[in-house]
Structure formats: C-alpha cells, structure tokens
C-alpha cells in the first residue's frame, strides 16, 4: 500500500559486483536450475562454478577468487543431514568457518563471503540469497583484494605466456 522510498541522491555510476559462486551438484546447483525452469528473476552478479560436493571446496578456491577480483564468494551446499555424500557439507562448514576467520583478519567484510544451505527445491531461497548478496555487496562497493594473476599459485595452466596474457587482458 504505502511504500516509502529513501532519498538516494544522485546515483553514482552503478557498480555491479562479481560474485564467484561454488555450488554443489546435488542441491544448490539444482536449485539454480529450478529457478531457471521456474523463470524466477534475480540479480545477474553470480558466476556459478559447479563442484560435486560443497566438501570439495578448498579454502584456496575462495582466496583465489578474491585475489582474482571477486567482490564476493558464495558457497552453496545441501542442508545439514542432506549431503549426497553423507557429510561433505559438514566439512564445508568447518572449512568455511576457518576461511571466514582468515578473511575477517584480512579485513574482508562478512557480507562478502557466505555459506548457504539451499536444497534442490529451494529456488526461491536461491533467488533471495542472490539478490540479497548482490545488494549488500553493491552497498559495500568493490572489493580490492586482487593481486596480479600470475603471482598466485595454482593458476599456471602450462600454456605459453602469450596465450595466457591474451586471456588475462
């Protein structure tokens, strides 16, 4: 009925965050599929990287994503007790907490790194998380933790340097 819109002032140039999203194959990836088949609309900021289980997510993936310029990292797994591999999501939770502590120490705002349990049926929840996270990070502004690509370990694909540069540029 009555909605109050806050004064925002002149809109600055719209910053669109990029979010690296690691989704497990059995729950959250399928939730994203369901959101698609249900034609739900959400913020286009996340880029989904599929893994079989949230337990596969190495903290290095998270650090690497921030180092490569991600403004946020989202991990999506099955609800506790629902893991396709029995308990991979508990491992993910443990690692998430550790990673979070390190990120906190590095000054990464808590909104930039999230772990969410989203089952294959919870497309609406996926949509909400996507929207919420995008809005929160938009409000925070860009993250600036990136370091030049080549200095980070594990990214050397063994290609010749020119090809690599071409990709980066």
């Amino acid at each position: 009925m009555l909605e109050v819109t806050e004064d925002r002032g002149a809109a600055p140039e719209e910053f669109e965050p990029t979010i690296a999203a690691f989704f497990c194959n059995w729950c959250t990836y399928l939730a994203a599929d369901l959101a698609g088949t249900s034609r739900m609309k959400y913020a286009p900021n996340a880029r989904v990287i599929r893994v079989m289980c949230s337990g596969r997510i190495d903290p290095q993936f998270v650090f690497d994503a921030f180092a490569k310029g991600a403004d946020g990292v989202l991990i999506g797994g099955c609800h506790p007790g629902d893991c396709h591999y029995q308990e991979g999501n508990y491992k993910a939770l443990r690692r998430y907490r550790l990673t979070k502590r390190v990120l906190d120490a590095l000054g990464v705002e808590p909104e930039r790194f999230r772990l969410e349990w989203i089952s294959a049926a919870e497309a609406d929840r996926l949509r909400d998380v996507m929207n919420e996270m995008a809005a929160q990070i938009k409000a925070l502004g860009p993250a600036d933790f990136s370091v030049p690509d080549e200095t980070f370990p594990g990214t050397d694909p063994g290609l010749d340097a020119t090809a690599e540069e071409a990709v980066v540029s």
């Binding site: 990029t18 079989m52 596969r56 190495d58 993936f61 994503a65 591999y85 690692r95 294959a120 990709v167």
Partner: protein, 662 residues
C-alpha cells in the same frame, strides 16, 4: 603441468553457443557471445546454432572435430543435467574422448533468470571463458562400470506399490514389498467406488492384493519400515525393521476366532481403517480383505500387555496353531537390491487446521474419506448414511478445496477432490435422496470420462454453487442444522443454506514423515513437500539419486489411473536398469599422487565411504568405493590427492575465467 600435450597436442577448442529456439537468444545476445568466444586463446572455431542438441547441431560438432582437428569442445546451452550426456556422446562419435568436453549452463543459470540482456550476455561470456580455460586441462577418462544387483525393493504397499511390484515380479525379478501398516492396500482399500466408472474399489483392488501375496517372486513385508539405506545405484543395502504384530504370521490361518474369543465383548479402540467411525478390539484384522489375512494385537489396548493378567482366551482358541506370541520383538534385516521404488503415498489434509469448517467440533461435519467409509457396504454403518447424531441427512453440503488452492494451507490443487466430490455426491444422492449442494471454486474434470461424469451428476439434480463456504455454524435453537454461508459468485449474492451434513473435500498432502523418508533415500522434495522427480516432463519417475524411482502420490497428488500408470513406468525404469546388468558411473574419482603424499592420514578418516586406506606410509584410494565427492582432495595438506573431472587446476582455471572481467 604438461598433461596438455600428453598425447593430444596443443588445445584446439571448438565453442558452440545454442539459441535454444528463443529460450536463450531472447535474453542473451548469442551472436555476441559466439564472437567473444572466438577471441579466446585456444579457440579454433566458435559457432552459434538454433538447437545444438538436435541431430544437425550434433553433426556440426562431429564435422568440426574431423575437419578442424578439434581436440576440445565447449557447448554453451542448457543445464548439464539435461544434455551433458548428449554432447559427450556427440564428441565421442566425432572420435574424441567424451571427457574432452565442457558444458556451460547459460539457459537455466542466465537466460531464464535475468532480464537485462547486457548483463546476461556478460555473464554468459564469463561462463564460456571459464569453460574454455578449463577444458584445455581436461584428461581422457573412461566411465566406470559396476554390476547391478538383480533384486528390487518397493516401499509402500498401496495401489502404486502393488502395481509396481507385480509388474517387476511378472518380469521375473525378485521383489521385496515393504509396507508399514498391517495390510497392503493403502488408501484405495478404504474407498467405496472409484470415479468416473464407479467400479467398486475393493472389487478391482483385492484381486491384485491376493496376487501379490501369492506371487512366487514377491516377498511381502507388512508392519515393516525402511530405517536406513546404504550403497549406491545397482548395489543398495536397505535396512528394514519388522515391527511385532504379536502373531506368528506363518502360523495364523486368518480364521479370526481369536477376535471373537477376546475378553473384550465389544471394541473399545477407534478403528483406524474406519477413521474412528467404529470401534475395534485389541486383537483385530484391519479390514475383511486384508492381505495378509493375519490378525494383529495392539498392545495399547490388550489387557495381557497392560496387566499381564488376562485370561488369554485368544490363545486358548488358537489352540494347537499357537500363532499368538506376546513376546514377539522388532527385528531388523539388511536386504541388498539394485533399485528401489518409493511409493509411500499421501495423507489427507487435517481438517481441524481450518476451524471455520467446524471439523472435530460440529458433529455433522465429515471428511470425504470418512464419507467413503460411511457409504461403503462393509463400513461402520453397513453403507447406511446415518449421522453421528443418529439421523439421516435431508440436506448435504459438499465443500471443495479444503486445504487446497489456499496459500494459508497448500497452494496447489489436489487434483482428485473435484472428481471424488462428484462421486460422493452421486452416491449420497442415491442413498439418501437428500438435497445436495456442492460448493466449488473451479470444477476440474480433465480426464477420460470425467466431464461426462460431471454432466451425469449435474443431471441428477445436485446444486452446484460456485463459491467457497466461508462459515459453518449451527442454527440458533436447532443445533442439528448447520448453516453454510458462502458467496454464490455466479449469482453475485451471499447465500445461507442449512444442511444436516457437511462433507469436506480435503486435499492430499505429503506424509508427515516424508522428510525422514526423503533423507533415508537421499532424494529431494519439491516445494509442497512431495518427492521431486528428476525432470517434470522427461524423467517423471526418476529421482536425482540413481536407482531410486518414484511411483504414486508420494510424488504429487494423483488419481488411481495416473498412479497405476506411473507405477508401471517406475517398474519399467527399474527393469531397464537391472536388465542392463551394469551401470556406468562418472569417472570423477580421486587418486593419490604417491610421490607427494606425506602419509599424514588426514584424508583417511574423512572419507564417508571408507575408500581410503593407508599402507607403506602412503594413502591409497580404492577407486571402486570412491564416489567422487572430492572432500579428501580439498583436505589434503600436501595437494597429493587429485580428482578426475574436478581437479584443482581445472577449478582454478574456471575461477580465473569467470573473474577475468571482474
């Protein structure tokens, strides 16, 4: 790392961006995406095409592999759940290892969920770039083959489970049919007639029930529940608990003399089968046609159980057959099967959740299932329509959509209520000649012979009022009469109609314990809580867990014809799986690079499948047991464990790929 050149030379990638008709191209500039992909390192050819999954689409890939000497392929189209297999096969047909392929989901994850074309296209570009970077590191792999156990289990002995079990047993498979209740038959056994043909439910169901019992290939386990499921497709170990019925099943011949002999002269306990409209004794048979024809004892009502001082007249009359065993205890059993069909059925909506209709409070208000029992010749009133107050109804109101089509309860339409309401109106009219008022929102009679049945009932003089009853209250000074108040939306006025009997057409809901069942079988639930099929159109009886199939109303509300059809489909899917003799598994197993392993044993305890062992100072992974979750890979402190298809390097490339523009 130099695997790239291992036998396959410099990566030569082909990228194919699909329009999917306009499904993708309406939101993503497919040509721009195709052009962006052209510039990526290693990409030899980039094309866009209307339908990549079509035969001509696949032909393009095969031809390019041949003509352009491609050794990697990326297809940007729909979800890999849909077409990964299709394209892997095309790649293999083109002469490459099928795992030199990576799929990009730009339909479900981009085109369908975004509105802004520029943003969606940018996202598609990032995802394609990531796939190109990743696919260059792909390794040739081979799918793993494992043998399939030829036995099957059906969980739930309603009409869905019965039909699935019989189909598979007739095909020569050994079937374990597990039912929680003391008899198979499910809800259908409680129905009087079935719409629209008005066949008597018992007449068509009972022969099937007896056939289950007699079938040499079916092992029926009543009073039994699945408590745990272990293993994987083709090789499940299912733990079944058999609850005690306090009767030795093989010794009981179903003479029912013990029931007559029971010290209770009359029943004291509400009869579950008649929904509390009649009483039963503590030793009883659920209903006359129960299968197995074996009695059971309800310890809550039995004097022997409560005091240990009963005369035990039941034991006396059973005499030398000696079938009664007060000491019986629950037992558990592990059963190995190759596939499982879950057919656990539904529950009817609990009408007390909507106090406005007075169920449980006003005597004249009944649920439809109760009325099924009332009109049934072997029901609590022998088929006479006698109300709780002893009177015969002269006016009856039937209210549709109780617990359906209402966001405060269940948003979905329960599909069967319109038809069963018509059926009950017809039966009640026939038996009482009462004035019958059906209050409906929309009459949904889509089914073979359904509309014809609606017409027939309308011609019988039933009043159809389009509007949901808002209030049911007893008439002042005449509490036997219940006033139904509703807007007659067609007439545009509020009507108040006094009736003697109200029938609530309660909707169908998932079982209370559907959540536990879901966890046990590692399957998923849809929004409303029913079990979720793998694909609503193309894999309607499969689940996301291979080897677990769905049949009947546990997947969603459905009528008997649809249930039976679905049960047949589930049986066919299970048979196809079993008869193949083996299954192919994704080659996404983990392996240890021995020279890097420091022998710290971190991984050993992590594996939920005990596939990691430790010998000679090194960890070893048993590839047969590994399911490919990758938890050990992430945990290995020295990076010595790697995973096929999801190797660290591949994921790092993907991360770099999606973030290049960030």
């Amino acid at each position: 790392m130099s695997e790239l050149s291992a036998g396959n030379g410099t990566p030569r990638v082909g990228v194919y961006v699909c329009h999917c008709g306009t499904n993708i191209s309406a939101t993503i500039d497919v040509v721009a995406a195709q052009q962006a992909a052209e510039t990526l390192p290693g990409v030899v050819i980039s094309r866009e095409y209307k339908y990549m999954c079509s035969d001509p689409g696949q032909e393009i890939i095969k031809k390019d592999i041949h003509d352009l000497d491609l050794n990697r392929v990326v297809v940007a189209s729909c979800s890999p759940c849909l077409h990964e297999e299709t394209f892997r096969k095309a790649v293999a047909d083109g002469g490459l290892n099928p795992y030199y392929f990576q799929m990009v989901n730009i339909r479900e994850h981009a085109a369908w969920v975004h509105k802004d074309m520029a943003a969606a296209t940018a996202k598609a570009n990032d995802l394609i770039r990531a796939a190109v970077r990743r696919v260059r590191l792909h390794q040739p792999l081979e799918a793993r083959r494992v043998p399939v156990d030829p036995n099957v289990m059906v969980v739930g002995g309603g009409i869905a489970g019965i039909h699935a079990a019989l189909t598979m047993a007739d095909a020569g498979k050994h079937v374990y049919l597990v039912e929680r209740e003391p008899s198979i038959g499910g809800h259908m056994a409680m129905f009087d007639k079935t719409f629209p043909t008005l066949d008597c439910a018992a007449c068509i169901l009972t022969p099937k029930m007896t056939r289950v019992r007699a079938h040499p290939n079916i092992e029926t386990m009543t009073m039994s529940e699945v408590t745990a499921v272990d293993g994987f497709v083709g090789n499940y170990t299912v733990t079944v608990r058999h609850n005690p019925r306090f009767i030795i099943e093989d010794a009981c011949v179903g003479c029912l003399e013990c029931i007559d002999a029971c010290v209770f002269r009359n029943g004291k306990t509400q009869d579950e089968f008649n929904l509390g409209l009649s009483k039963r004794k503590p030793i009883y048979i659920p209903f006359p046609q129960a299968v197995p024809q074996v009695v059971l004892i309800d310890p809550a009502g039995c004097i022997e159980f409560r005091t240990g001082k009963c005369k035990k007249t039941c034991v006396e009359v059973c005499a030398e057959r000696n079938a009664i065993d007060f000491q019986q205890e629950a037992t558990t059993e592990d059963i190995t099967v190759g596939a499982v069909i879950v057919a656990t059925g539904f529950e009817t909506f609990d009408a007390t959740r909507l106090p406005r209709y007075g169920y449980g409070n006003l005597d004249g208000v009944y649920t439809a299932l109760e009325v099924e029992r009332l009109v049934n010749a072997s029901g609590p009133t022998d088929g006479e329509i006698v109300l709780r107050n002893g009177r015969k109804p002269e006016a009856i109101g039937v209210i549709h959509c109780i617990g359906s089509r209402d966001k405060n309860t269940n948003e979905y339409c329960s599909r069967v209520c319109c038809m069963y309401s018509l059926k009950l109106s017809h039966l009640l009219k026939e038996k009482t000649d009462a004035e019958i008022y059906e209050f409906y929102i929309d009459m949904r009679t889509a089914g073979k012979g359904f509309e014809e049945f609606y017409n027939r009932v309308a011609e019988e003089g039933i009043h159809f009022i389009r509007g949901k009853v808002a209030d049911v209250y007893p008439e002042a000074g005449n509490p036997d009469k219940l006033v139904l108040q509703a807007e007659d939306t067609l007439a545009g006025m509020v009507r108040q109609i006094p009736v003697d009997m109200v029938v609530l057409a309660t909707g169908l809901e998932p079982r209370q314990d559907a959540e536990d069942v879901r966890r046990t079988f590692n399957i998923t639930c849809s929004g409303g809580g029913f079990f979720m099929e793998r694909h609503p159109k193309l894999a309607p009886v499969s689940t996301f867990t291979d080897g677990v199939f769905l049949a009947g109303a546990c997947q969603g509300p459905k009528d008997i014809p649809d249930t039976v059809a679905q049960a047949g489909a589930a049986a066919a899917e299970a048979l196809a799986l079993i008869d193949a003799g083996f299954i192919e598994l994704e080659p996404n197993t983990a392996f240890v690079v021995e020279e890097n392993c420091s022998g710290c044993k971190t991984c050993v305890g992590l594996c939920p499948f005990n596939s990691i062992s430790y010998a000679d100072g090194k960890a070893q992974i048993n590839e047969v047991l590994c399911k490919g979750c990758g938890t050990c890979v992430a945990a290995c402190p020295s990076g010595a464990i790697r995973q096929n298809l999801f190797d660290d390097d591949e994921i790092f490339e993907e991360i770099a790929g999606v973030l290049t523009n960030a």
